[in-house]
Amino acid sequence: MKRAALLGNPNVGKTTLFNILTGSNQYVGNWAGVTVEKKTGVFEKSIEIVDLPGIYAMDTYSNEETVSKDFLINGDVDIILNIVDASNLSRNLYLTMQLKEFKKPMILLLNMADTLPEKGIKIDYERLQEELKIKVIPISASKGVGIDEVKTVLREQFNCPVDENDYQFRNEEQIYKYIDSILKKCVTKNETQKKYVSEKIDKIILNKYLAYPILIGIFYIMFMFTFSWVGKPLQDILSKGFYEKFMPGMHELLKNSSPWFASLIVDGVIGGVGSVIVFFPIILSLFLGLSFLEDSGYMARAALIMDKTMERVGLSGKAFMPLMVGFGCSVPGIMSTRTLESEKDRKLTALIVPLMSCNARLSVYALFASIFFPGNEVLVVSVLYLTGIIIAFLIALLFKNTIFKKDDEPFLIELPEYKLPGIKNLAIHTWEKGKGFFKKAGTTIFSASVLVWFLSNFNLYGEASIDKSMLSAIGKFITPIFKPLGFGTWQNSVAIITGLMAKEVIIGTMGVLYGGNLKIALPKVFTPLSAFSFLIFVLLYTPCISVVATMKKEYGHKMAIFSVAYQFILAWVVSFGVYNIGRMFVR
């Protein structure tokens, strides 16, 4: 099989083109040793296409560039597909000039060529092809224009020229002078009104007084969309149908087989699948919102607006978005750390994302607050959210100065022109993000569900009720750990363990173990202080299995284990402090 390398600047439609050419024949992974995404796909069973990370140059020492360079040198590349933004050729061709030095057959794809007339730009493609001495094809990846020609060239076994000239550029200045001399011959520009639209929007979006209210408003709408308007209602319908109709139906179907077998199939396997499926609506709605913000150009502005604040704790403005998303769910939060500049920033941000109180934890806060702090629910919940944020910043500072010690990366972010995202692109980007999660994280969540089912239904002598199961034995065994924190009962320990499945499961487990009405049962085992200590513990302790699975998928075993361990220790230490200092003041 022949091999093609797809390269280009960030945000020029590389992913869209990759999807068109390879369809569903894709594999996503990481380049060895770094957290840079590696995507490969197959075009018409004959050409393997490798989607390399978006870069501006080959020689400015980032991981992305090193990966790309190594691949072009050692990866048996037969052809280079260089995709560029047709309306911004000058900067885009800088990378092209560097790619030409690899002396491979090369096609230059001028993307977004359809938008040139409205921008008042005219390009003489023939002339450009002559001057650059490589094949040039104008395309529009999002509209499918010019794609047939690209496919034809690919099928014709790379029948395209190699520029054998040795340019011997001594520095960046010479490369740019050369590019500009070519563009002078091939490109004409008339200033149009179009350009000023983005400028006008920026005047409002970046306005001193309006910037923050707009930012808050936009994220508020995104969360409402996910948790009130679309995602959550769909999830409720789905889980209702699943748990109240489908699972009892399956039980009915299997009523003639042995009870433990029926339970394994229905409660273990099907229940496990269900716990992944009910995640669908929320994750996809949140991803849809994120894709919209990214494609429209707003995300870059949000990073710019928050950079000054984030810099104080040693993070870049780009870390703001993953943290914000973390308030909805840590899974997409961690996945969106990919957009950060350096590997260390990505890892650091991913480690603190779970400290943002996600939606699932809110249900635990709400129940406990209503029982133990009636009248002060809002205050208590706000304190918990704030505690999470403050601790995240402290941890960021701590890690930044210890395990992630390094020079500061420069904050450089391109502000693309605003545009209304196309529905097709939105759908593709949303699915792209969702697919990775369900494929990889899904299997982990599924196996963990089956394991918990097993532990809560069996002991060493066979089948058992949950209070005699292995899970309760484990709960009893680890209870001494929680005694100093004020909530050391075996029921709580079991709830903390099952909470690893998803934090809202804590409530359900307590319901089963304390037998019924928690409003009556909980005050018998908790004081307001130990309840608060418990909430702090729930806020901070080891994230749920979906998050750990995502962490493993994105950053590997070590990071996942580290995340599990450090958050458990952190939760224990802070809860211990809260409970024991609190005891000096209240009974």
Partner: protein, 74 residues
């Protein structure tokens, strides 16, 4: 003078990029080369980072990094 001293909306020419190698190389690759037209388009609400226009596109950069971009006024 550096690009930080430039008033918003005013045009200037890049002279050179100074300071640490890695940053300078990256900025030059992005188009900050001798003779390049540069403009300050605006800033974040707190005044930093600033938004520069170079080679026809907008890029945000922190002031402490932008201070390495030396310019002469048009």
């Amino acid at each position: 003078m550096s690009v930080c001293d430039l008033k918003t909306g005013k045009l200037a020419y890049v002279e050179k990029v100074v300071g640490n190698d890695k940053l300078a190389k990256r900025l030059m690759a992005l188009g900050f080369i001798n003779g390049g037209e540069v403009k300050v388009k605006g800033a974040a609400p707190l005044g930093d980072p600033i938004v520069l226009n170079i080679k026809g596109y907008d890029i945000a950069i922190r002031k402490k990094d932008a201070a390495n971009i030396r310019i002469r006024e048009a």
